[in-house]
């Protein structure tokens, strides 16, 4: 079985111990972006964002439609230039030169919404190889990376020589994600990777991605609308509103501010809501609850008390 650890890397290997390093991999300073400046369609999307993304962090980015999520993530690999502010990758300004932009593109991998619409090659293999090829790796390195990343997203060897257009929507999505993973980015950014998939497909892709994260120790930023998924997989959550960071903390910290979240038009996980209702009826549930498992444990721990009530 191939794992990413076998991949010959041009860059310094970044293993688990490096995740402990204190310097952030990405630092966003006072980032501001205004679309169509100077026209009647002027639209300010980001207003002074300050963030630090640590190495190996898994972060869920949440926000209402139009809160600036997509604009923010496209800044991270220099696809959009900031109107104001700076982004540092490993301490270096990514918009400094053509070279730094190129470096950012390969070190920060960005998977767009519905990435299956960007497939274009004749075979799955060639499509996944597009990114590594652009990085000018040797054919041997490309081969190892293609096979490894296909495995990470659960695409079997037998599919590699098929045309991507003959495959199902879920498989296309995986191939598109593999195409970015193959570049072995130190920060993997995904814009709603589960949108439009059935529950089983969603879970599988998330498990695949978490497997990739655990194997490589690379940071992962996931934009999502699903509070449940964010809560289940992320160690840290960032809530955006009107182009500003409204909240930034662990899922527990964020979900404890239920009222504010609702005012932003965001939902809290169903279990959190249920817990809140039960507490209103006088059930003394303890701790923060946002998964079914936590709800079960909290209920079981007061089972005796419930029977009395």
């Amino acid at each position: 079985m191939l794992i990413m650890g076998d991949i010959p890397q041009k860059r310094k290997p970044h293993r688990k111990e490096k995740c402990m390093s204190k310097t952030p991999i990405l630092k966003i300073e006072n980032l501001t972006h205004v679309y169509s400046k100077g026209t009647p369609f002027e639209l300010s999307a980001l207003n002074g964002i300050n963030l630090e993304i640590g190495r190996g962090e898994v972060i869920g980015i949440i926000g209402h439609t139009g809160s600036g999520k997509s604009t923010l993530i496209q800044h991270l690999n220099a696809l959009i230039k900031p109107t104001d502010g700076k982004i540092y990758l490993d301490g270096k300004d990514i918009n400094e030169s053509k070279q730094s932009v190129k470096e950012a593109r390969s070190r920060v991998g960005l998977v767009f919404q519905y990435p299956e619409y960007q497939l274009f090659e004749e075979t799955v293999y060639k499509d996944i190889a597009f990114g590594p090829k652009n990085m000018r790796l040797t054919p041997d390195e490309i081969d190892v990376r293609v096979r490894a990343s296909a495995q990470f997203v659960g695409i079997g060897e037998e599919l590699l020589e098929r045309s991507p257009f003959d495959l199902s929507g879920g498989q296309k999505r995986r191939i598109a994600i593999a195409g970015v993973i193959a570049m072995l980015p130190e920060v993997l950014v995904l814009d709603e990777p589960m949108a439009g998939l059935d529950p089983a497909g969603r879970r599988e892709i998330m498990e695949n991605l978490m497997g990739y994260h655990q194997e490589t120790g690379n940071a992962m930023l996931i934009v999502t609308h699903s509070m449940e998924e964010a809560a289940r997989y992320a160690q840290r959550m960032i809530v955006l509103e009107h182009g500003r960071v409204a909240m930034d903390g662990t899922p527990e910290q964020v979900f404890s501010r239920e009222k504010e979240l609702k005012e932003m038009g965001l939902a809290v996980p169903e279990m959190t809501e249920l817990a809140e209702k039960l507490r209103e009826y006088g059930v003394p549930l303890e701790g923060t609850i946002y998964t079914v498992e936590q709800m079960r444990d909290a209920l079981l721990s007061l089972k005796g008390g419930l029977q009395d009530a």
Binding site: Q74, K102, F130, N134
Partner: protein, 267 residues
């Protein structure tokens, strides 16, 4: 970057010019074009300039925006003017080798350049103040009489409005695909011509696939809403001519008459 293209761009507003019936605006532009070609003297150009300026002022569209439409054609205008300077016979001002610069030539060059610029600005006023949908409705109604001689007016208008409707969508889609491929390290700017053409493949293939998919979906959506061509089809917003339309017609005819009279007296 692709979004900055101004071709046929519409600037929403609620001024008199915006509220004019699209049919009126199309006819006014046609009259304007005819008048521009008849105009030959200082007086008639001044009159046309007043017309154009008042249209721009009334529409509250910034002059810079209107001038931006002229920018891509600046080279063509310059060459036209340049040739006019040398190829007009008349009172010679300067002469060297085989070149003669005449007084008439200079006037001709200025007038020609001014005419092209004013024509472009005038026609842009139509697309700047009329939404693409209203424009096609206007064209369909104006061409309506041609149905008698079996011209598929409705189908043409439908195709036109769909094409116009899909331009921004396709541009947005191209932008998105370009970003996605750039994120995978694609490079569209460097290399020789062959390499640049090859670099377009990762954009064109997904773009065509999605365009066909979109066309398919649109056809199904239209059929499931019982679309069967223009026969017996009515409109939600029926165009009606109002007082401002008749007034502007009267003004346009007056201007045209004025220009013709001025031309007749050679002024």
């Amino acid at each position: 970057m692709l979004k900055d293209i101004t071709l046929g761009q519409y600037f929403p507003g609620n001024t008199v010019v915006h509220r004019l019936d699209p049919r009126t605006k199309i006819v006014l532009v046609l009259i304007y074009i005819v008048a521009m070609f008849i105009a030959e003297s200082f007086a008639s150009y001044a009159l046309m300039l007043v017309v154009l300026a008042s249209a721009i002022l009334l529409s509250r569209i910034r002059l810079a925006t209107v001038l931006k439409g002229v920018k891509p054609l600046i080279l063509v205008i310059a060459i036209t003017a340049f040739l006019n300077v040398f190829y007009t016979s008349g009172h010679i001002l300067v002469e060297f080798w085989i070149f003669k610069i005449t007084k008439e030539g200079i006037f001709n060059a200025i007038f020609m350049a001014l005419r092209i610029i004013m024509l472009i600005m005038g026609t842009f006023m139509l697309t700047y103040t009329t939404s693409p949908i209203m424009l096609t409705v206007g064209i369909e109604q104006l061409l309506g009489p041609l149905k008698v001689i079996k011209v598929p007016v409705h189908e043409l208008a439908m195709m036109m409005s769909m094409a116009l409707r899909l331009i921004p969508t396709l541009i947005e889609e191209t932008d998105k695909i370009m970003s996605a491929q750039k994120a995978r390290g694609a490079d569209f700017d460097t290399g020789n011509l062959v390499q640049k053409a090859k670099a377009l493949l990762p954009i064109l293939v997904p773009l065509f696939i999605s365009a066909f998919r979109r066309a398919d979906e649109l056809a199904v959506a239209m059929e499931s809403r019982c679309y069967h061509g223009g026969e017996g089809r009515t409109r939600l917003n029926v165009l009606t001519m109002g007082g401002r339309d008749y007034i502007s017609f009267a003004l346009a005819v007056a201007v045209l008459a004025g220009v013709i009279t001025l031309a007749h007296f050679g002024l």
